[in-house]
């Protein structure tokens, strides 16, 4: 391979916001001079929806995948057909990130059923004898920070055997009381989720307390809505038989890319919620 194509985005973290200018360079390295039919750069942004097999059936899920919704798409011709000198050639580029019409630039998100992705693709068309060269590179879009201060809405919770829902034999459960609070139910995505939890009493020894972050994705299509909840991450906040009455911190950093601010559009909806698991072990 004599010729290599690469895209370098100026920002190291590749994060851009709506209204900013995406800039960078296309780097072409080659030992010899390169003959080409033109180099173009395409910026694409789309939402991919995938129907869950659970809600609509396997076949439909396979065939009926919803068409990607395009958010942004623009192409520029960087170099006219001609020759590039040997060695390293850098071609700078700039793309303004603007909303097109009423299409909002959603935040990048990699979910199970919903995917929002932005890519840059560079194509070098070449003559019949040589293959065309393509290079794609993902960049990340963050939505503008919401205007107006978010009001923190703390919430307290209590877990006892009585509050559990899907339990069959309530009598066999050991007695326990877990109290706690989350500092806010609406979180800023860049800030961690915080809170506290106290094991007031428990008859059996606690083995582990875990925090589960769950996303709820809803896809809308012709047949109606499909709503699915899947786990994003699960972290342990207590290991072993913890002290009774000692507050244990709840702290979770939202993983990047796999979470996004709660979204509601006509076609799809993404939301998150947190679950708490306490694993109790009794020695009877």
């Amino acid at each position: 391979m004599g010729t290599a194509l690469d895209i370098k985005i100026k920002r190291a973290n590749k994060v851009y916001r709506c209204g900013e200018v995406l800039s960078g360079v296309v780097v072409i390295t080659s030992k010899d001079t390169v003959q080409h039919q033109g180099i173009s750069l395409t910026m694409e942004g789309s939402v991919n929806l995938q129907l869950s097999a659970k809600s609509v059936g396997v076949f439909e899920a396979f065939y009926n995948s919803v068409k990607p919704i395009q958010i942004i798409n623009s192409t520029i011709e960087m170099v006219k057909p001609g020759k590039l000198p040997s060695g390293k050639t850098e071609i700078p580029f700039e793309f303004p990130l603007h909303m097109k019409g009423n299409k909002v630039l959603y935040e990048t998100y990699h979910g199970v059923f919903v995917n929002i992705q932005y890519t840059l693709r560079c194509d070098m068309r070449r003559s019949l004898l040589a293959k065309d060269l393509t290079k794609t590179c993902e960049f990340i879009v963050h939505s503008l920070s919401q205007k107006g201060k978010l009001m923190p809405s703390p919430v307290d919770f209590t877990i006892t055997p009585e509050t559990l829902q899907n339990v069959k034999e309530r009598a066999s459960l050991p007695k326990f009381l877990i109290r706690g609070h989350l500092s806010s139910t609406n979180c800023i995505i860049t800030q961690p989720l915080t809170g506290e939890l106290v094991v007031e009493n428990a008859e059996a020894a606690v083995k582990s307390i875990e925090l589960q972050l769950v996303r709820v994705e809803t896809c809308g299509c012709a047949e109606g809505y499909a709503r699915d909840a899947t786990e994003i991450q699960n972290i342990q906040i207590a290991d072993g038989d913890v002290c009774r009455g000692l507050p244990i911190p709840i702290y979770m950093v939202f993983p990047r890319l796999f979470t996004c601010p709660t979204l509601e559009t006509t076609n799809f909806k993404v939301g998150e919620c947190v679950g708490l698991y306490a694993v109790l072990v009794s020695f009877i």
Partner: protein, 1007 residues
């Protein structure tokens, strides 16, 4: 003759002979021919020489030593010893010269020499010492090469100025590893990260292999659990993991590296085999530290723009985006680790990287990590997690509330832990000691340079917290000793009333004792403290517990109390340790008790007045330990004993101790060990003195000889000491022995005479014979002296060709040459035995030399013969150059009798014939150089000692001169100087014949 004298001056113990030799005479002789010593030349003219020799030395030059010495003596100059010393380094030249100028008025010679001539050594060393110069030049190289290591060091030390008085973790590490061990089988869960790990896995015994289990885990597919590992296997495995971490890192597999680290830290949540946990913590945190360092250095290297590295205290603004992004990535990745304990440890490991993100990053993270620990259920794991946090966070700033401890102790006594302990069969006292390293460390971090107020507050809090023994112990080991010592009564109170909860009290007393050994408690409390503490200690049943405590408290006792208390304490120790031979298991502690006692009491008369000291020593029944202890005592004796002693208590005790050391010597004892023991015993012997009671002194030496017969150096020392004793006696009697003293001196001489043959080293024997002979001579024991010299003469043929010097084989001829020269110079003053022939000893020695098998290619024999000529020439003088006081030498005995002179001349002829014969054999091509050298040496001898007015002798010397330069091996410079010397001599009165001689000596210019 100069050779003889110089050497003798060096080798003789000057005290013996200073009385009989006037050293000032040497100077003139030295000046006479000193410059010839290394002449090199050649030539041959045997025929002429041979015809001449028989006339030589009939006219040995007659000398007037007194007038010669006056002519040649250096001008005597009064020296100001108080100020000037030739070896004193000259530091400041300016002031020095000033000083010298001032002194110039009193002593011209010394001032001119020292002010004009700078000390060559110090001038070289002055500032620009070549070595340090070189080092300075090499410095840049080393700095670049070691930049990494220095950076690491910097990282470790951190910028927060931890002083050297802060005991670093690295020093605790080893202690923990050695203390917390187990014989239980361990298990380890690890992914097959390294090829090595799997291969060794299969190499381990079959049993282990069959126990390999695969656990399926979604994330790390190929995990294996190794069971039944011994502790060593376990440590090896962890080391392997450490290695594979480094490998993965260097091969750019960062994710794998992270996985390894997570795996490792997961091991820390496992508390099966709980006794091993502290050591496990140490091992695994080592890996974590490595990881933290790797990440930090990588990010730091990303910050380096155009090879300008960041300064030490960089601000986050100067860090570029890529580095920040990488750093953030690490934190995000770690935040999503599922398990609590790995998440905590890995984040703590890279805590330092927060520096790249924001200034306050570290201080913001610490409280969060601290509260995270609350989620850890097992109290032991939690405490160690805290300790780790203290270690990575800059230790001083980190504080945490004591309430954690409070809850901790509730937990320890909770059901879960109790159940676990029952399962593992671990008792509570043992379990509690597992906490010590972590709590010690935490408290040390808090207490480091903390103000008094804070410490007091913490102490109060501990008291309020139910006065927990475990906590109290850690407080005592972590806080400043002065702080503890000042409140020792409080502490004793707290220890007494503290709730034991399983933690053994004797450990508490031990910790307190350790503090008191470092710092002094208030004067008034001292006795009470001892009483209170000892009351508890003495009640301890288990001898091991007892001795551990006692060991510490002995130091306190020695420091502040008198013999009486020490005696009581030692008696108590003996009482406790004797039953069932408990002392056998406590040798190290007992040894350290002895050491402490002798560091504080170094007055030995006081020490041995402690009644129980010797009974205490009797407890050391294992020989090696016993000898060690004896060595310590003797070392301290030699170090501290200022003046000699005759105290019978000390002598008896120390003789006993020395005897013990001596008796430990056997065939297997190493040379070094023997040397050391001998040095110690010698030091003791030197310190013994009975003053004017010489008889007793001698009987002491006799006793010592019988006790220490296996150590040769001691015997040698004894011989020297006895010789010295004889000379002392002589000094006391001012040279005139009474009948009694004469008998005593003869006894001394007899002592030496019978002791010397028991030595093995031949040169030691020879020299001692000579020395003792000289001493005997000085004490007018003529026949005894004769016996010594005869013994020496008969010993010479036994000298081997090679002798071992410092373990290496060396040719012995140099030593023999030196000895013989020394011997001959002594023989000058030895009077002939009336019943033996003239010069009996000299003849005897010459015969021995004749028969001795010399090396084929050495000229030593001829050199000795030439030196014998010096002796013979000195013997023909009317008055000898030196005498032994009150002993008539041959000059007086024969009074220059012509028969005597004829005998000497005959002897000379024989010797010269030998020399010339030898010169003849050196006529071959390859030996011409040696021939030339010897010829010149001989020439110089004749020049100095022969009477050159004798024509034949004159002719011989001319021939030798020619021989010396015949083959061009002569050093022209030397020849020219020799000639100049002859010319200069010719100007002196009665030396006019030298003028003619000078004319007859041609100088050969070298072509």
């Amino acid at each position: 003759m100069n050779d003889l004298f110089c050497k003798r001056a060096v080798s003789l113990n000057s005290t013996y002979f200073s009385t009989c030799i006037s050293f000032c005479n040497y100077a003139c002789i030295y000046v006479d021919i000193g410059y010839v010593s290394l002449s090199q030349v050649c030539g041959y003219l045997y025929a002429c020489i041979l015809s001449l020799y028989s006339f030589f030395l009939r006219h040995a030059r007659s000398r007037n030593y007194v007038s010669e010495s006056e002519v040649c003596k250096l001008e005597s100059v009064p020296l100001d010893f108080g100020d000037y010393h030739p070896l004193k380094p000259i530091t400041v030249t300016e002031s020095k010269t000033k000083k010298m100028n001032r002194k110039g008025s009193t002593s011209s010679t010394s001032s001119s020499s020292s002010s004009s001539v700078m000390d060559p050594l110090s001038s070289v060393l002055d500032g620009t010492d070549p070595l340090s110069l070189f080092a300075a030049a090499a410095d840049p190289v080393t700095t670049t090469a070691t930049m990494d290591s220095t950076r690491k060091k910097r990282d470790k030390d951190d910028s927060s100025a931890v002083g050297s008085d802060f005991e670093p973790w690295s020093s605790k590490r080893g202690e923990i590893l050695s203390r917390y061990t187990t014989t239980e089988k361990l298990s380890i869960v690890s992914g097959s990260f390294s090829r090595k790990a799997t291969t060794t896995g299969s190499a381990v015994s079959e049993k282990v292999r069959t126990r390999l289990e695969e656990l399926d885990d979604l994330e790390e597919g190929s995990q294996k659990e190794l069971l039944n590992l011994t502790q060593q296997d376990y440590m090896n495995r962890i080391e392997e993991l450490n290695q594979s971490l480094k490998d993965a890192w260097s091969s750019d597999q960062k994710v794998k590296a992270l996985k390894i680290v997570i795996q490792c830290s997961k091991l820390l949540s496992d508390t099966t085999v709980i006794q091993f946990y502290p050591s496990k913590f140490v091992l695994i945190t080592d890996i974590l530290d490595t990881f933290g360092k790797l990440v930090y250095e990588r990010i730091l290297s990303m910050c380096v723009d155009s090879r300008v590295s960041l300064p030490d205290n960089f601000s986050p603004e100067s860090v570029n985006d890529t580095a920040k992004e990488t750093c953030l990535n690490w934190f995000f990745k770690i935040a999503s680790i599922r398990e609590l304990i790995p998440r905590f440890y890995v984040e703590a490991a890279i805590l330092k990287c927060n520096k790249f993100l924001s200034k306050t990053g570290i201080s913001e993270c610490l409280p969060r990590l601290t509260s995270m620990i609350r989620g850890i259920g097992d109290p032991l794991v939690a405490v160690y997690a805290r300790a780790y946090l203290c270690r990575v966070g800059s230790p001083i700033k980190y504080l945490f509330t004591a309430t954690c401890f409070c809850l901790l102790f509730q937990q320890i006594h909770g059901d879960t832990v109790q159940n676990q302990l029952v399962v593992q069969c671990v008792e509570i006292p043992l379990y509690l000691t597992l906490y010590s390293p972590a709590i010690d460390w935490i408290l040390q971090c808090i207490a480091y340079r903390a103000p008094e107020v804070l410490l007091t507050e913490m102490m109060e809090r501990c008291r309020k917290l139910g006065n927990n023994a475990l906590l109290l112990n850690s407080v005592m080991s972590a806080f400043r000793a002065e702080f503890i010592a000042a409140r020792s009564m409080d502490f004793i109170g707290m220890i007494k009333e503290c709730d034991e909860s399983g933690f053994p009290k004797h450990l508490l007393f031990r910790s307190l004792g350790l503090n008191l050994a470092l710092a002094d408690p208030p004067e008034n409390d001292r006795l009470q403290i001892l009483n209170e503490a000892w009351k508890v200690i003495t009640k301890l049943k288990n001898p091991q517990d007892y001795i551990n405590c006692a060991e510490v408290w002995v130091e306190y006792t020695c420091r502040h109390f008198t013999n009486r208390e020490i005696n009581t304490v030692l008696a108590d120790v003996i009482k406790h340790m004797t039953p069932d031979r408990a002392f056998e298991d406590a040798y190290p502690q007992l040894q350290s008790i002895i050491q402490k006692v002798i560091t504080y009491i170094y007055d030995f008369s006081l020490l041995f007045s402690v009644e129980k000291f010797l009974p205490f020593l009797d407890m050391f029944q294992k020989e090696s330990v016993r000898v060690e202890v004896c060595k310590c005592i003797m070392e301290s004796f030699i170090k501290h004993q200022q003046e000699s002693t005759k105290d019978p208590v000390i002598l008896n005790a120390l003789l006993h101790i020395c005897k013990t050391m001596h008796d430990s010597v056997n065939a297997l004892t190493l040379e070094d060990e023997k040397r050391m023991l001998a040095a110690l015993i010698n030091g003791f012997i030197k310190m013994v003195s009975f003053g004017r009671d010489f008889e007793q002194q001698l009987s002491f030496y006799v006793e010592a000889r019988s006790m220490f017969c296996n150590l040769e150096p001691v015997l040698v020392q004894l011989i020297h000491s006895v010789n010295q004793l004889a000379m002392e006696t002589r000094k006391v009697m001012k040279g005139n022995h009474s009948r009694k003293t004469a008998a005593f001196v003869r006894a001394c001489v007899a002592f030496c005479f019978i002791t010397i043959p028991s030595l093995s080293s031949i040169f030691t024997r020879l020299n001692l014979y000579l020395h003792s002979g000289q001493v005997a001579l000085a004490n007018q024991c003529l026949s005894q002296a004769d016996a010594f010299f005869k013994a020496a003469v008969s010993l010479v043929p036994e000298v081997p060709k090679m002798i071992s010097v410092d373990g290496k084989m060396r040719p012995s001829d140099a030593f023999l040459l030196e000895f013989l020269c020394n011997f001959f110079s002594t023989l000058l003053v030895v009077p002939d035995h009336p019943e033996q022939g003239v010069l009996f000893l000299v003849r005897g020695l010459l015969n021995v030399i004749q028969d001795y098998t010399w090396e084929d290619n050495s000229d030593d024999k001829v050199r000795i013969y030439t030196n014998v000529l010096h002796l013979l020439s000195a013997m023909t003088q009317e008055a000898y150059i030196y005498h032994v006081d009150k002993v008539d030498s041959n000059d007086t005995l024969y009074g220059g009798d012509s028969k005597f002179l004829t005998e000497i001349n005959k002897l000379c002829e024989t010797v010269i014939a030998q020399i010339l014969d030898h010169l003849k054999t050196l006529g071959k091509e390859e030996t011409l150089k040696r021939q030339s050298q010897l010829a010149l040496y001989f020439f110089n001898t004749i020049l100095a000692h022969g009477d050159l007015r004798n024509n034949k002798l004159n002719q011989l010397s001319v021939n030798l001169w020619n021989l010396a330069q015949k083959h061009g091996f002569a050093d022209t410079k030397t020849m020219v100087k020799t000639l100049e010397y002859i010319k200069r001599r010719s100007k002196q009165p009665e030396m006019s014949h030298f003028t003619d001689l000078a004319l007859r000596l041609p100088l050969q210019s070298r072509t």
